[in-house]
């Protein structure tokens, strides 16, 4: 038996499939939304810090109206001023527990963000402390727990999992492109409006109410979640009367362990639907002609995660219909002035287009404190409009070194490619995308 394992491990290693171990197969609904009944502290302070360094070669745009200027995909967020930088990616502190001594069936979760990212500095704007999570869960009923407030929405594994056990520095292209939502006022078609974000990135969170529960039978665990939320991002009120719906189902064979590193094999499906309101310019010189219009935003996905001993695997397929973020004009940094001085690069969205993507992720722990990772992801953007369609492929090689259970070092090298598959290779769009650099990132994660 051990020989078989050794041989297979050797084959996998020989094919270059070295990877990591941490998370996967955990029940995020329960880990983030509940506390052990009667056993949790009244208030437990916790948080984490992520200092990091990211680097690209900083290749400039090679064609189009912004030729010679910075390419947005070769700059580092949130400011997009440099192609290499040190940054405090995240710095979060919070409280969680059963803060109501009269009722151990009620718990809370509170977390704020002080790092430098799209939550605190959307579009490179002014920084500020932001509330990311503030929820109360009522555990009084067997059939359904009730969670109310601002928290992660039930959905994609990459978004739902706790970020402090995320195995990579950056999200996959498809998750970043269609799930990590940027809230904007218009579609970006107005020539002199940068159309930058009007608030923090969604961070896979919403404000609303969720019913959820987990049912355990022997080694199997089945979970569901149904949520209704504003669909308008973090720490602010709604901007329309339409509410977002979130649905989630998962089933998991549990091998052992507990918490965020529980061993098991999980399958899951999820669906999200809501409306987004955009102000569309009807004329070129008068805002009086602008009209507000609602567009449907749908997302769904299916996936699996697996963690058993030294081995880890995950795969997910994600589909998006409506509100497809479509990059920036000419690939320039948002707000950049075109070379002819007549327009500024804006953040664009295709309100009625489609997209899809998938990722495969493997991990292998070569020693108790070292794991190696490999991930491949594909993002097909704007698949309903041939000239606008873009394809992004990223192969990420990673390594993690665990100083201890709560402190680790993550190193990633991303081989990045992009193309406009329906346009000739000589087209400016493909000349621009040919300039997409690989990206190197190194990050320390310290949980307290």
């Amino acid at each position: 038996m051990y020989n078989t394992r050794t041989c297979l491990a050797a084959v996998i290693a020989a094919t270059g499939l070295a990877a990591a171990l941490p998370t996967q197969a955990a029940n995020w609904l329960m880990l983030q939304g509940t506390e052990p009944a009667g056993a949790a502290e009244r208030a437990r302070v916790w948080g984490f810090i992520q200092p990091e360094f990211q680097y690209t070669e900083g290749t400039k745009l090679e064609a189009g109206p912004f030729s010679g200027q910075d390419a947005i995909f070769n700059t580092i967020g949130p400011d997009r001023d440099a192609s290499s930088q040190f940054n405090i990616r995240r710095a979060r502190i919070g409280l969680r527990g059963q803060g109501f001594p009269l009722d151990s069936n009620t718990n809370y979760f509170f977390l704020v963000e002080a790092g430098n990212n799209g939550i605190t500095k959307p579009g490179g704007g002014l920084g500020s402390l932001k509330l990311t999570d503030a929820s109360v869960t009522f555990n009084h009923f067997d059939a359904a727990r009730v969670r109310v407030g601002q928290f992660k929405t039930p959905g994609s594994e990459e978004g739902l999992k706790a970020i402090h056990v995320f195995d990579y520095v950056n999200f996959t292209s498809v998750t970043d492109g269609v799930l990590l939502e940027r809230y904007i006022d218009a579609d970006g078609s107005a020539p002199n409006d940068p159309n930058g974000p009007n608030g923090p990135v969604g961070a896979f969170r919403d404000i609303g109410i969720q019913l959820f529960q987990t049912f355990r039978r022997d080694d199997w665990e089945h979970s569901y979640a149904v949520m209704v939320g504003n669909g308008n991002g973090l720490a602010r009120s709604d901007n329309n009367n339409e509410k977002d719906i979130y649905l989630y189902l998962s089933t998991e064979k549990i091998f052992g362990g507990k918490g965020a590193r529980r061993q098991g094999w999980k399958g899951f499906v999820w669906y999200q639907e809501g409306d987004r309101t955009l102000t569309l310019a009807q004329g070129t010189d008068s805002t009086a002609d602008d009209v507000e219009q609602d567009f449907e935003r749908k997302r769904w996905g299916v996936g699996t995660t697996y963690l058993n001993g030294k081995y880890r695997a995950a795969a997910e397929y994600i589909v998006a219909d409506g509100m497809i973020r479509n990059g920036s004009d000419g690939g320039a940094v948002v707000g950049a002035l075109a070379n002819n001085g007549l327009s500024r690069a804006s953040l664009n969205v295709l309100p009625e287009d489609e997209a899809d993507g998938w990722y495969l992720d493997f991990g292998y722990k070569i020693r108790p404190n070292i794991e190696l990772d490999v991930r491949y992801d594909r993002f097909n953007r704007a698949t309903d409009t041939d000239p606008a369609e873009r394809r992004f492929d990223t192969l990420t090689l990673g390594a993690q070194y665990f100083f201890n259970k709560k402190t680790r070092f993550i190193f990633n090298y991303e081989f990045r490619e992009a193309e406009a598959p329906n346009l000739p290779s000589s087209h400016p769009a493909n000349q621009i995308l040919d300039g997409m650099d690989d990206r190197i990132s190194a990050q320390i994660l310290a949980i307290f």
Binding site: L17, G256, L360
Partner: protein, 152 residues
């Protein structure tokens, strides 16, 4: 059908299947993939000194081999189940062994049923205790998996 899939998708699917197959063959505690020693400790004695002793032995094993290199499970049945009652004086030590070295604790359901019958209610167990249908059967199963039985 499969031949129509892109080559890289086929490659990754094959690797995924390989990983899953490999994992399915894995033996022992998946929480301890690097463990070289697998030990089951039996506690079936009512003597509080024996309760302390079995925890000491677990601690000494971890100290000697290191938390990643040894996989320890303590199985409590009969009068020994008292070690895993929620109000047992050793609960802090149990917390420490679980959190620092992922030692597992198994509680015999047959014994628990007897306690419940005698007390008129089910006693509260330590939150780290995992229910097993019969302590002695659990020990036999672990021995079959290659564990070494020690009864301090």
């Amino acid at each position: 059908m499969i031949s129509k899939l892109p080559w890289h998708l086929r490659l990754w699917a094959a690797l995924l299947l390989g990983l899953l197959s490999t994992g399915a063959l894995a033996a022992g505690n998946p929480d301890k993939p690097f463990a070289e020693k697998h030990v089951v400790l039996q506690i079936s004695d009512p003597d509080p000194f024996k309760q302390t002793l079995v925890l000491n032995v677990a601690g000494n094993l971890i100290k000697h081999y290191g938390p990643d290199k040894v996989d320890v499970e303590i199985v409590a049945f009969g009068p020994g189940l008292r070690l895993l009652l929620a109000e047992n004086d050793n609960s802090d030590r149990i917390d420490n062994l679980v959190n620092s070295a992922q030692v597992r604790f198994s509680a015999c359901e047959n014994t628990l049923a007897k306690y419940t019958q005698n007390l008129g209610h089910e006693p509260a167990l330590n939150a780290h205790a995992t229910h097993v249908s019969a302590g002695v059967v659990r020990i036999i199963d672990l021995i079959d998996q290659g564990y070494t039985l020690i009864k301090p």
